[in-house]
């Protein structure tokens, strides 16, 4: 048992001071992995390219900082060939939902037991501040093209839940970088979930985003608690309902509420477990 120790490597992170990514590193490497007692050499952390994708360099397990958008496919390959591994794919919002978007519908339906952690900072940080697929629909976008068409952001939570409808087997959750222990619990559950899991982490980029964006999000954030009424925004057409992460229809309703209106923290959907790739049980 390695519980209690830290899996943070001795490489100094080059993230900006105050960056939310530190919170995720702590949740993953100081808590989730040691808490689960997974030996470090049984863990493979693979990322794409971005500030967020620096993560594997700072976690003292097997790790690969790969190429932009492809962490999810490399993760699946590793898991398939050595099913006893704990495989974590890490990426940014751009990494996962722009260049890598095409891999997700397929990763979900294969339901391979990997855990994806998306660090959603709502911006392309590493390349210095461009619009990302989750960048909120700010005034800026009007300038983005001569043709002023409607360009709302992609909604990763909604897409992941929608993709999960076919299998009803994924684990889809959202945390926030500032609440490390809650995030830890989500990551632990994601890793333990036998099947595909996806955890979105709301995380501030303190350098390239209005500081208000994250502050506002943090303020609005509400925790989902099983059985308790979901706090729906006033603008929503639905009445509040008791949160039930086992019900994909309800998860879909939840995911339709834009993150900027109501950033929900917790498990959106917890699908049926399995198959366990270890046990080679059919699903």
């Amino acid at each position: 048992m390695t519980g209690g120790t830290s899996y943070v490597s001795d490489v100094e992170p080059i993230w900006c001071r105050g960056c939310g990514n530190f919170g995720v590193l702590n949740a993953l490497a100081r808590r989730a992995l040691p808490n689960l007692g997974i030996p470090r050499d049984q863990v493979f952390a693979v990322s794409g390219i971005g500030c967020s994708s620096r993560m594997p360099g700072y976690v003292d397990t097997y790790g690969l900082n790969s190429i932009h958008g492809r962490a999810v496919v490399i993760a699946q390959g590793a898991k398939l060939s050595r099913p006893e591994l704990t495989v974590v794919a890490i990426g940014g919002d751009g990494d996962f939902f722009s260049i890598g978007a095409g891999h997700f519908p397929h990763a979900v339906r294969r339901n391979i037991d990997i855990t994806c952690i998306m660090l959603n900072n709502f911006v392309y940080a590493l390349t210095k501040g461009q619009t990302s697929p989750t960048t909120p629909h700010l005034e800026k976008r009007e300038e983005m093209t001569g043709l002023e068409f409607y360009l709302p952001p992609v909604d990763p939570m909604l897409d992941m839940v929608a993709y999960s409808l076919s299998t009803k087997a994924s684990f889809v959750a959202q945390g926030i970088a500032t609440d490390v222990s809650h995030l830890d619990s989500l990551i632990e559950e994601g890793i333990k979930h036998e099947g595909f899991s996806f955890i979105s982490v709301l995380t501030p980029c303190v350098t390239f985003h209005h500081s208000e964006l994250f502050a506002e999000m943090k303020e609005k954030a509400v925790y989902l608690r099983e059985g308790e009424l979901v706090d729906v925004p006033d603008t929503a057409e639905t009445e509040p309902w008791p949160h039930d992460p086992g019900n994909i229809g309800l998860a879909l309703n939840l995911a339709q509420i834009p993150v900027l209106e109501k950033p929900y923290l917790g498990v959106f959907f917890r699908g049926k477990q399995g198959p366990s790739l270890n046990g080679k049980v059919g699903g």
Binding site: R40, F44, N65, R70, I74, G102, P105
Partner: protein, 569 residues
């Protein structure tokens, strides 16, 4: 009696042309005949033309003749789609079902045979006509009927034939009407049964043999059969097979599997190789073993998917941004297809690099009958270098050693966790952005491949050492060059060099080049890609000739007679 006979068969999609050809080849193989049967088909999925050109040879593996000895035609209109590939000679014997279109000038010995109605009489359906033709052909070619029946009984491959024996026998009976003693095949020199397979299938068998248990791919002509054979092999728990969502994913899945220790592989054709470029660069930079097969077809872009060309060499050698070292192999026949996978997988593991094996549509899809012994040859174990002793302490993934190859641990190996990246990195795998480290790792990744240049065994040279005239050719073109040299009787005059390892370039090629005064390079692509590569690496003789043209049609002996005759002068 003849040593060899070239048979052409043409018809529409539903006519069973390929089945007829394959059965004939397989039967002959049981009697010890070598054979080679390229397929010609068009873009149409159904209803298009379909043709094969089969040589049966009792002495040696050889190529179908330029023209046909015997032709079975079920449909002249479809024949006209492939007439370039199946040219008739004045002495070709033709058996045809319907009256030919005007454009066809029938040779003297042409005979109308009513395969369809006879089949209907015997079997109640016209669909037995190809089996009927088969019966007729075995007789014409003097393949003993007993032997055929014995073979049928023994092998599941002949189930179809067994079920349609009445049609077969009716065909045999037809033989009395069409007896062509001049086409009788002399008994094979060695009666031992030949192995019948395609290059695609040879590659799949080799992959299994060498321990590949993780295969990821995306369908594409003409590589799909390789994928499908791996799917069958690895199914049911024998390994991991996944049809990826695209080629980027196929390469990424293979890379991930390889990091975790699998002998991983993917196969594709040109357009898919393009998409693998970035992942290949990562494999090169982070020194991750990876085997990529490219079954080449006519390019650029979608080109002609069903036809052979050798135009992906440039990309295999130079493709991708940055100086990304890699290894390129190119087999020239079915046995080479097998060997190149064994070797390629071994090289990928030992040298921790991406290895590209260039096959092509001709190699991949042509059914050949050969001595199958190579499948039992002793086989490379394809092991990775492991850390041991003091290296286990403070393990550094990219530790610089004299041979530039660093012990690698697989994800999951106890106590040897490391982190790596496609960023420029130091010996520990941590990102580094200083010039010295960057240069040092480039040197490492290039120099580690140096021993491959000494692999003389991966370069074949035919002909006499003393010849001052040489040809260098590669891939399936080599078969045509060797055949043409033989036909021209120039074996004593011209020697031929076929590098199976192309990059890094073996020194044996350099020695070959410096041993000749006149050099000819033959390849099937527009721009002479091998020639340009050789020229960039070696001093070629002044006036080196190049015979390079696009694919879409196999070389013929007569086409090559010009250039080969030229340098022989």
């Amino acid at each position: 009696m003849k040593r060899s006979v070239t048979v052409g068969i043409a018809g529409a999609g539903g006519d069973g042309v390929v089945v007829l050809g394959s059965l004939l080849q397989k039967i002959a193989a049981t009697q010890g005949y070598y054979g080679q049967m390229p397929r010609y088909y068009g873009a149409q999925i159904r209803g298009g033309g379909s043709a094969v050109k089969l040589i049966l040879d009792g002495e040696r593996p050889s190529l179908p003749g330029d023209t046909l000895d015997l032709m079975v035609c079920f449909d002249w209109e479809k024949y006209l789609e492939v007439d370039h590939e199946l040219p008739l000679a004045p002495d070709t014997i033709v058996l045809f079902e319907n009256e030919p279109a005007q454009e066809v000038i029938l040779p003297e010995k042409s005979f109308k045979v009513d395969f369809s109605s006879r089949s209907r009489e015997v079997t109640g359906s016209t669909r037995g006509k190809n089996i009927m033709a088969l019966g007729l052909l075995t007789r014409v070619l003097s393949i003993p009927g007993d032997a055929v029946r014995e073979a049928i009984a023994l092998d599941e491959e002949f189930a179809l034939l067994r079920d349609n024996l009445s049609a077969f026998e009716a065909g045999e009976e037809l033989a009395s009407e069409f007896s062509f003693p001049e086409l009788g095949l002399a008994p094979a020199r060695s009666a031992s049964a030949k192995t019948v397979l395609t290059g695609n299938s040879a590659m799949a068998r080799a992959a299994i043999r060498v321990g590949c248990r993780a295969f990821f791919s995306y369908p594409i002509t003409p590589a799909s059969e390789l994928m499908q054979e791996m799917e069958r092999e690895l199914g049911g728990g024998n390994g991991v097979f996944l049809q990826a969502e695209d080629e980027i994913a196929a390469a990424g899945l293979a890379l991930g599997a390889s990091l975790a220790g699998a002998k991983a592989m993917t196969a594709t054709s040109g357009p898919g190789l393009d998409l693998m470029t970035e992942m290949m660069g990562l494999a090169s930079a982070a020194e991750i073993p990876m085997l990529i097969v490219d079954v080449q077809r006519c390019g650029p872009s979608t080109g002609i998917p069903s036809k052979s060309e050798q135009s992906d060499l440039d990309h295999a050698i130079y493709g991708g941004h940055g100086d990304a070292s890699r290894v390129v192999l190119a087999p020239c026949d079915v046995e080479g297809c097998y060997r190149s996978i064994i070797e390629g997988m071994g090289i990928a593991q030992r040298f921790q690099a991406p290895v590209i094996v260039l096959s092509d549509q001709w190699l991949g899809q042509t059914l050949v009958a050969v001595d199958g012994g190579f499948q039992e040859d002793e086989c490379e174990t394809a092991e990775r270098l492991r850390a041991e002793g003091p290296e286990l302490e403070g393990y550094r993934r990219y530790r610089l050693r004299d041979d530039f190859i660093s012990p690698i641990s697989d994800v999951g190996d106890a106590g040897l966790a490391y982190r790596t990246t496609g960023l420029s990195h130091n010996e520990s795998g941590a990102p580094a952005s200083d010039f010295e480290t960057h240069q040092r790792l480039h040197v490492k990744r290039r120099k580690k491949l140096a021993p491959l240049s000494e692999r003389d065994d991966l370069v074949s040279v035919w002909g006499s050492d003393e010849s001052s005239r040489g040809i260098i050719t590669w891939g399936s073109s080599a078969q045509f060059v060797l055949e043409a040299v033989k036909c021209l009787g120039l074996e004593g005059v011209v020697k031929v060099c076929v590098p199976e390892l192309i990059c890094p370039l073996p020194r044996k090629v350099e020695r070959f080049v410096s041993s000749v005064e006149k050099l000819l390079v033959v390849e099937m692509n527009y721009s002479g890609q091998l020639h340009r590569y050789l020229r960039s690496e070696l001093d070629l003789p002044k006036g080196t000739e190049v015979w390079a043209r696009v694919g879409g049609r196999p070389f013929s002996r007569s086409e090559l007679a010009g250039p080969i005759g030229g340098i022989a002068k």
